[in-house]
């Protein structure tokens, strides 16, 4: 690292020019114990030079002006010593690695202009940055910041271009108007290894941690037109399986971190936003709607507010969350206030979208052929009752239902406006977001989000007290169809006209369900989401800090279902009704903590101890109204003549815990972390309420060993190992009590009471033992960084909603399962800097995860409810199926292996095929190319899954009154023929049975692998000079393509969402502006 320091012309007569070559040496702070009485600075300097590698650079003239100093210190840092030395001197100093440069306190420039410009350089955390070179109008003036990060030009032009550079930071150029004082935030230049990573109750770096943590930063999220950050991390993180449930706005994402730990209970990770846990369950009530797409509470966070998402995976990273860490932890950090000139940032984009894939369907002729052939195969004469399409409907009419119902274009607009700024002590950040999108379904459906967030940060003058207050409020409104419209894709192509001549919905004498009338049934949600967080800390002594984190979240979802009269066939007795739901979840959390840092010699120690108190109250009310005078009144419950309360429920969850962490390292080479937690949860019976969790992690940076230190090829090497125990309390409240709730209906004019669950007073904690070995390798000065993880998690004493036969009166009970489940797998991540030149750069990140799981043991499996579901030694994600043996050439029906030879295909005796339905591997490749001010990013995701439900699970048998994908044309037609699809049939029992068995056969699961270009983003940033002329800080234009291409052989709509509405491909363009 080179730094050239120009001293101003004014001092040329003292020292002409000082050119110093600096080399920064990473290392631990050395401490000094010194005592001086009226000593000259020179004496002090030589004493320090004797005891340490630090060297002072100064001129005799400078020291001539200095005052003698007196002080006594014990084991204090160099900075402390220097601040004592320079307290009353006309001099100041700058540290550059081992060099301490002395200079006069005031540096002025002899420019022919007339004002004083003072300023301060701080890093992203608001910490002052010393020794940063600040230049104005190239060649016209240069200085460096002092220990407080401050600089001054006594005579600067009214409008100046500041150029800020330094070894540790990313260089910056900016234009300053006529202001006397500026605060500039600079970005520290860090490699991936030294980038700050958020962990439980603190921060670390990839280099120093013993845990396994993946990070997705705002750079990766920011290039995607998304409304839920989960969509943005899909495919980018090893070990994390994410799938969108539907292409409709606000829909839920299923998420599994390192496989399925639990057979049938919560597998959701713990979400923590700025220290406050977020409910991960959908707030959607029984009213449901939107095509079965449960609203995700995570959609209530504006992705633009997110600074980074950290995914904590192994025991070392998660054990401190104890009972909630079993399924991993996802930490969401929101954007923080930054010091600097008040800045207005705007990001606006807009675009269009369509579904990724449509199904190739039978055309009119093929459909009619199919129906006629089916009746002829069955030997049945078509009648009005069994063939209205052939006997009643117009056989020449054709409608492409798919195109009509899910083939529309949608439109989206997204605007974010932010304001930030502040001094070195106090900073603020506010951001307002607005997002609006329509859907690909005909009608007025869509989503509308508004959010406002803020963050305030203050640091006391003595830098000991810190306070951060942040909050966000989002209002999210979705308006979706009540019914899943994708079920109507199989309407006969000659189904009747949508409207009558009079412009009313056509029901064709009650012979069909008009899908446009169905779309009149709506499901509206309005979610208000408040997240707030207060963080206070105080440094009591050096290294000893007391902190408290207090948070409050409130999520309130209101639902409104409207089923208007016009959506019903007037030939049927149904009438208008409406549903009203309200679900409120409020969480309060307080986490006091005490941390202590201590270094001696090469050893560094950090201790953390704290406690958690959390209370969550949930209140749900669902009501329905019927007997309306008019469809227009469906918004009102009061206008209903009958009101029914479907759900009225309140529950309380309380959680308390104590945690501690000890981290030690020696010489930044050997690392040890110990975590411990004792947890209590109200979800367990009194006897089982408390449990202990903990972990140990070891790390060894072997590249720092002498043997490897000189290696040119291997620049970094680290081996780590962790093991520990975590738990899971996603079991719902009050499960240990035998409770009765109010039943839906009264009887004999009194409210009635019904048991709500089978109860188990004695269930106890589930424990997941996590083990991991991980290897990090850096090659060629860390241009290539490879991480390989092998994890091995064993779940014991599983707490599950144990499935029970209906003879018990319920479908299951919460109990501990005497089973052990092993989740293990490999994760690979390779980060490469393929090209790094002045104008060009090319970075890439490749991830690959190979997840596996096994049912290790299951006591009494054969006599349990799972006897026909699981096999010991096999993965959990298996499906027992009939073994398909092809289309019988003689009968034309599907045939299967008759395992027990009884001449019939029956379950479970003939379930001969055990099919693995899980993902074999998945991953992604992210490429970022930069040429001058142009940037191009391409992210490709891939998933390999060989057996997944195809269109067969959703479509009726070929030949019935329902359209089919065109795959079915290769059907059996005559005796002796080889075919892949059985003969068309409408009502033949043997064909129908064969088809039902086919659905339950291995053949009904097809290849669901896909490679998808998930995102292409291109941007162009205006050069600084142009910005200066336009008086703006920066400006860039971008286009983004989400899901533009997919390669898959999947038979069905989209392999990700399967039977329901596919994800969308979006094309958006926009602009980002900072003034």
């Amino acid at each position: 690292m080179y730094l050239i320091l120009h001293f101003c012309q004014r001092y040329l007569r003292q020292v002409v020019l000082l050119v110093v070559l600096f080399v920064t040496v990473p290392g631990k702070a050395q401490t000094f114990s010194l005592s001086f009485q009226r000593a000259g600075l020179r004496t002090v300097f030589s004493k320090i030079e004797q005891e340490s590698p630090f060297r002072f650079l100064y001129t005799e003239e400078m020291l001539a002006q200095s005052q003698p100093v007196s002080f006594t210190v014990r084991e204090v840092s160099l900075d402390s010593v220097l601040s004592l030395c320079f307290r009353e001197q006309p001099l100041s100093y700058v540290r550059e690695g081992q060099h301490i440069i002395i200079r006069p306190k005031v540096i002025e420039k002899p420019l022919s202009v007339n004002r004083t410009l003072r300023g301060k350089i701080v890093d992203e955390q608001g910490e002052p940055m010393a020794g940063i070179t600040v230049a104005i109008q190239p060649g016209k003036g240069i200085t460096a910041t002092d220990q407080l990060g401050e600089f001054i030009f006594s005579s600067a032009p009214a409008s100046v271009q500041l150029s800020i550079s330094g070894g540790e930071i990313v260089g910056q150029e900016l234009f300053i108007g006529n202001q006397p004082y500026v605060v500039v935030t600079v970005q520290r230049k860090v490699t991936l290894l030294d980038e700050s990573v958020v962990i439980a109750y603190g921060k670390t770096t990839k280099r120093n941690t013993t845990g396994t943590i993946s990070k997705v930063g705002k750079d990766e999220l920011g290039v995607q037109p998304i409304t839920n950050f989960l969509a943005g991390i899909e495919g980018r993180v090893t070990g994390l399986q994410i799938a969108q449930s539907s292409g409709l706005p606000g829909s839920h994402f299923s998420i599994r971190l390192r496989g399925q730990n639990s057979i049938a209970n919560g597998n959701e990770p713990l979400y923590i936003i700025d220290g406050v846990p977020l409910p991960s369950n959908s707030l959607t009530s029984t009213l449901g709607g939107g095509g079965g797409a449960n609203a995700s509470p995570l959609a209530s966070i504006n992705p633009s507010d997110i600074e980074s998402v950290e995914i904590l995976k192994d025991a070392d990273a998660t054990a401190i969350y104890g009972s909630r860490g079993a399924n991993g932890v996802i930490l969401i950090s929101t954007r923080r206030a930054k010091a600097g000139q008040t800045s207005l940032d705007a990001k606006i984009y807009s675009g269009w979208g369509k579904v990724t894939r449509l199904l190739p369907m039978l055309g009119l002729d093929d459909y009619l052929t199919m129906r006629k052939e089916a009746f002829s195969n069955d030997g049945v004469v078509p009648t009005i009752s069994n063939a209205r399409d052939l006997k009643l409907w117009d056989s020449t009419r054709f409608t492409d239902w798919q195109k009509l119902l899910i083939g529309q274009s949608m439109h989206l607009t997204d605007v974010n406006l932010g304001l930030s700024g502040g001094s070195g002590q106090t900073q603020f950040f506010i951001n307002g977001g607005y997002h609006k999108e329509s859907t690909i379904i005909p009608g007025d459906f869509g989503e509308d989000k508004k959010s406002l967030s803020f963050s305030l940060h203050h640091l006391s003058v003595d830098r000991r007290f810190r306070v951060t207050l942040s909050g966000t409020y989002m209002h999210n409104k979705t308006f979706l169809p009540k019914e899943d419209i994708s079920t109507y894709l199989s309407l006969a192509p000659n189904a009747p006209a949508l409207y009558t001549a009079a412009g009313k919905f056509n029901w064709e004498n009650s012979t069909w369900t008009n899908p446009l009338a169905i779309l009149e049934r709506s499901y509206e949600t309005r979610t208000a989401n408040l997240l707030s967080n207060l963080h206070l800390s105080y440094t009591i002594l050096k290294g000893l800090e007391a902190k408290v984190n207090v948070g409050f979240t409130s999520m309130h979802m209101r639902e409104h279902v409207r089923l208007p009269g016009i959506s019903y066939d007037p030939g049927l007795p149904w009438i208008a009704s409406a549903g009203f739901g309200s679900n409120l979840v409020e969480t309060f959390i307080s986490e006091p903590q005490l941390s202590y840092k201590f270094s001696k010699g090469k050893a560094n120690l950090q201790v953390l101890a704290g406690g958690t108190l959390q209370g969550t109250a949930q209140q749900a009310l669902v009501q329905s109204g019927s007997g309306y005078q008019s469809d227009e009144l469906l918004h009102s419950l009061q206008a209903a003549s009958t009101v029914l309360t479907i759900t009225d429920q309140q529950s309380i969850y309380r959680y308390a815990g104590f945690f501690s962490r000890l981290s030690v390292d020696w010489d930044s080479r050997y690392f040890l972390t110990l975590n411990g937690r004792r947890d209590g949860s109200s979800r367990y019976g009194p006897a089982q309420r408390f449990a202990n969790f903990g972990s140990a992690g070891l790390g060894w940076i072997f590249s720092r060993e002498k043997l490897l230190q000189s290696s040119r090829f291997l620049s970094y090497g680290k081996l780590k190992f962790s093991m520990g125990v975590t738990g899971n309390d996603q079991i719902g409240d009050y499960k240990f009590l035998h409770t009765y709730g109010t039943y839906l209906y009264n009887y004999q004019n009194v409210a009635t009471l019904t048991p709500t669950q089978l109860f188990n007073p004695s269930y106890s904690w589930e424990k997941v033992v996590k083990n991991e070995v991980s290897l990090d390798l850096g090659f060629l000065k860390d241009r290539f960084l490879l991480t390989v993880n092998y994890y091995h998690n064993l779940t014991r004493n599983q707490l599950i909603q144990y499935a029970l036969p209906g003879t018990t009166g319920f479908q299951g009970i919460l109990q501990n399962l005497p089973a052990r489940i092993k989740n293990y797998g490999w994760e690979f991540e390779l980060n490469s800097i393929l090209l790094k030149q002045k104008n060009w750069s090319w970075n890439s990140k490749f991830t690959l995860t190979i997840p596996r799981n096994r049912l290790v043991s299951f006591e009494g499996l054969a006599s349990s409810s799972y006897a026909n579901t699981y096999v010991i030694g096999q993965p959990l994600s298996i499906s027992k199926r009939f073994l398909y043996t092809g289309v019988d050439k003689a009968t034309g029906n599907y045939s299967f292996a008759d395992q027990n030879g009884d001449g019939r295909i029956s379950s479970p005796a003939d379930l001969a095929a055990i099919v693995f339905t899980g993902q074999q591997y998945f991953g992604g490749l992210d490429q970022t190319l930069r040429y001058k001010n142009f940037k191009l990013g391409i992210f490709t995701q891939f998933v390999r899954i060989l057996h997944t439900p195809t269109y067969i699970s959703r479509f009726a048998r070929p030949g019935s009154l329902s359209n089919q994908p065109s795959y079915v044309t290769n059907r059996w037609r005559s005796s002796g023929q080889t075919a892949t699809i059985q003969k068309y049939s409408n009502s033949n029992n043997l064909s129908n049975t064969a088809f039902t068995n086919f659905r339950n056969s291995d053949q009904a699961l097809g290849n669901g692998s896909y490679i998808r270009v998930k995102n292409i983003s291109g941007s162009y940033e205006l050069p600084a000079k142009v910005c200066a002329k336009a008086k703006i800080k920066s400006c860039s234009f971008f286009i983004q393509l989400q899901n533009p291409f997919s390669i898959t052989s999947y038979q069905g709509l989209d392999p990700e969402t399967k039977a329901v509405i596919p994800p969308l491909k979006l094309f958006t363009g926009g602009l980002q502006l900072s003034i």
């Binding site: 309380i652 009635t752 319920f810």
Partner: protein
Amino acid sequence: MRNILISLTFGAALLAIPSCRKFTDPGEPLTQLTSTTVFSSDATATAAQLAIYAQLEGNGFLYELSVATGLSGDEMINYSTLPDRIDLFSNNLRPENSTVGLLWNRSYEFIYKANAVLEGVKASNKVSDPVKKQLQGEALFTRAFCHFYLCQLFGDIPVITSTDYRQNASATRQPASLVYQQIETDLLQSIQLLSANYVNAVNASTTERTRPNRFAATALLARVYLFQEKWAAAELTATSVLNLTSTYSLRPDVNQVFLKNSTEAIWQLQATVAGFNTYAGALFPFTALPSNVSLTPLLLNSFETGDLRLSAWTKRVMVNGTNYFFAYKYKAGQNAASITEYTMVLRLAELYLIRAEARARQSQFAGATADLNVLRSRANLPLVNLSNLPSVLDEVERQRRCELFAEAGDRWIDLRRTGRLHPLMAMAKGTNWVITDQLYPIPQVEINRNNLLVQNPGY
């Protein structure tokens, strides 16, 4: 200032450490009651039993039962495009059929709830004695009622007499004879416990026949005796109810049979669903082409000319020159102005038919004919004089068909009892019918979750 900040920070920290044990105790749920609380008062204990009736009506259990058996049998034609309905109609049932699953699961849910009431009341010392007796009687009756229908649909079935899920999860199918034994025991005990009056929610007498009383249990017992071919007992038991002429009598006008608090009612279910009087009244009618079910020509043709029941209990809709009929026993459709009808569960007419058959089997043909003529005369049909067993049985079968069609699957289960189901359906349903279609399949989920359950033949 600094001291204030320090105290603030630590004050907050200290505040956060009260007793964790106390903090993590969630207390009693706010919107639910624990079972101990439920069975600590007459009102709440009664509410636990009433929920079963509310659900029986609220879920349309009897409607589903009559549609399923009506489609499997020869009473109804399917127009629904739901595959589960199509399969019922074409006798192509699969163990995955959702209607079959619903009939099974609901029945066992009711049985669980009845057992929970039995156990809760028994353990309680706070429920008063009269209420205790009434509730125990009703719970035993409910349990018998559900076991009876399960046995008719599925054949041998698990008998569930406790709430112990460990035991119930691995229950095995009991031979029908043992199931009947349990039903009989429950009903006999229930008759001892139940009040002769109909009672309301506070255990006072009422004119609403919406909770089973002693005679509801007696009427069901008469049926159970008949199904076990205990002819004498069946006759005697039926007579004991038929003799209560001050309480029970046939309504002379067939249009008034299904009204609420009808004198013919032995047990009715109070209307619960908003906008519905009854499920049957709300869901059977149509005005254009049927999209649910219609009545078969076979059923319509079985009525003798002049039978009042044909015109009163069915309704015709003509579309494009074709006639379609629906069951019209219940006249009140959706959103009727007031509640005038309740779902009939047990009614007097059936007891005449039970006694007629029981008498004929004991060669009391005159008595049998007299019972049949009671129903014939109300339907405005000429009286008959039958003097041998086949002719009486034949007339009982026809009268059951015309009197009790679309009522809780009476025809289906009665034909199966008499062994006539297979021959009749083989004729009516064509080649799709096989003998094993007489029993519904045990739901596949049940087989999957309880290895000890064996599937019925043919599935």
